[in-house]
């Protein structure tokens, strides 16, 4: 499909959805609209709310807080994941000892940890960062662990025949392999960092997009809830675009998805 045509069709989906939303919440059928505006708001009000946020500038503070929380959660979580993943993969006995506990913690729905983090770390950003870290850590950890363990035996034998010491093996073989696995999960882990931040804010905070949505919901301001959702979606897409750019730069050596992994 030509690119222009694709964009037109994609835009059409948005236009039709919004038009339907508008029509169903505005024009009465048999005396009242099919979707009660109280629960579904309508596109005009939502748009007005978004514009108001940006014009008054309140939104920037909340976006900034959410961004900081997500970035911190990502950085701390992936650093921990890489270190522990590496450690476990190179020390199978340690990995075996901790295995049931890792599984247990990973099986736990992370949302239930939020109240504890709030108690421990207060209503500020760190309780949200902690929640994000618990999500990001495990994704990165499992990928790095896998990446180090699944280095091709031939490549490893070759590296040893080329005279690599244990340290050089780390640097030239295990590390790049682990990183490639980590980067392949970059979209997921960055996404989860945002989820951690927003859910944390939603459950108790004083700022951030999650807080904004929660506040609106608290006063039955449905337009505010929808507006918050749209801003959040745009925010996540923006972050995802940046991740894609970073990924393209870092993984030039990887074949395209249609080829097999080396």
């Amino acid at each position: 499909m030509p690119r222009a045509q694709l964009i037109v069709l994609q835009a059409l989906v948005a236009v039709v959805s919004i038009a339907l939303w508008y029509a169903l919440t505005t024009f009465p059928v048999f005396g009242r609209p099919l979707l009660p505006p109280f629960f579904f708001s309508n596109p005009v009000e939502v748009a007005q709310q978004i514009v108001a946020w940006f014009v008054s500038g309140v939104i920037w503070k909340h976006l900034w807080v959410t961004l900081i929380e997500a970035v911190l959660a990502f950085v701390i979580g992936s650093t921990g994941g890489v270190l522990v993943g590496f450690w476990f993969a190179r020390q199978p006995r340690t990995a075996a000892v901790f295995d049931p506990y890792v599984k247990m913690v990973n099986a736990l729905p992370r949302v239930v940890l939020a109240p504890i983090f709030t108690l421990w770390l207060g209503l500020g950003i760190w309780s949200k960062v902690a929640l994000g870290v618990t999500l990001v850590f495990f994704i990165v950890f499992f990928n790095v662990y896998q990446g180090v363990k699944e280095v091709s035996p031939t490549v490893l034998a070759n590296a040893r025949m080329l005279g690599m010491s244990e340290r050089q093996l780390m640097r030239h073989v295990y590390w790049p392999s682990a990183l490639s696995w980590m980067f392949s999960s970059l979209h997921t882990s960055v996404g989860f960092a945002v989820v951690g931040a927003v859910v944390g804010e939603y459950l108790g905070s004083a700022a951030g997009l999650g807080y904004l949505i929660q506040q609106a919901e608290g006063v039955f301001d449905v337009a505010g809830v929808f507006a918050g959702m749209f801003v959040l979606a745009a925010f996540v897409i923006a972050i995802d675009t940046i991740v894609t750019m970073v990924e393209k730069r870092l993984l030039v050596w990887r074949p395209l998805a249609s080829d097999n992994r080396p």
């Binding site: 034998a157 040893r160 025949m161 080329l162 690599m164 050596w253 080829d259």
Partner: protein, 279 residues
Amino acid sequence: MADGATAAARRTAQAAAVALDRVSVAFRLANGSLYTAVERATLNVADGEFVAIVGPTGCGKSTLLNIAAGLMPPSAGRVDIFGEPLNALNRQAGYLFQADALFPWKTALENVAIGLETAGTPSGEARERAQAWLTRVGLGSFGDRYPHMLSGGQRKRVGLAQVLIRDPKILLMDEPFGPLDAQTRQIMGNLLLDLWSADRKAVLFITHDLEEAIALSDRVVIMSAGPAARIIGDWRVKIARPRDISEVKLDAKFHELHREIWHTLKAEVIKGYEQTEGG
């Protein structure tokens, strides 16, 4: 003639580059039984000699090579490298693997340079020499390509440069051109002979292709079908060097030797097939 492995061993016993003495390899299988891959193999590769090992699939040829490389210890027997017993990785040997062994996250140039860098050569010099080697294997302008951007034959060329840049005294090759098409194999064979003739390393070359073995080597060693594969024949190839692979195959001596060896090998190939089909 097939004068037996032991006679050949005695002949070249003086400080052979690789000397395998009654080497056996056995694995413990998952069901607990013992599987003998190679039994009492004795083989000597003299310095500067090009020896090809031919045998049916699954006969333990690669196992023998891994032993010579020190990647795995033999269950019994003894391995000497230039007269010294081998207990760890064989530091004198370069190994060209059958499967892709290049580092996928390094460019062709970095792949070739790494063998020098691990030995402590400064990165700038290593890169310069790597570039020279890439040119020697005909990939001078491909230095910035990643392995997945190269064809199978090109990857083998990079692999060859990666191994040879370290100037190993022994070259171990495990069906290196196996996955390539016939034309590329011939070209790679000629390239290999060309590079080898410059400084005559000891070569142990594994292949299942008898023609390739005769065309390349000084000696062709035949292994029986596994399990408990043994060395069952050892022929000298008395065809003058330098050789051209495609022309060698027109030589009368080539055909005579081919017929003679194939006579022995055929029975083993059939046995090998029956075993793989049956089990």
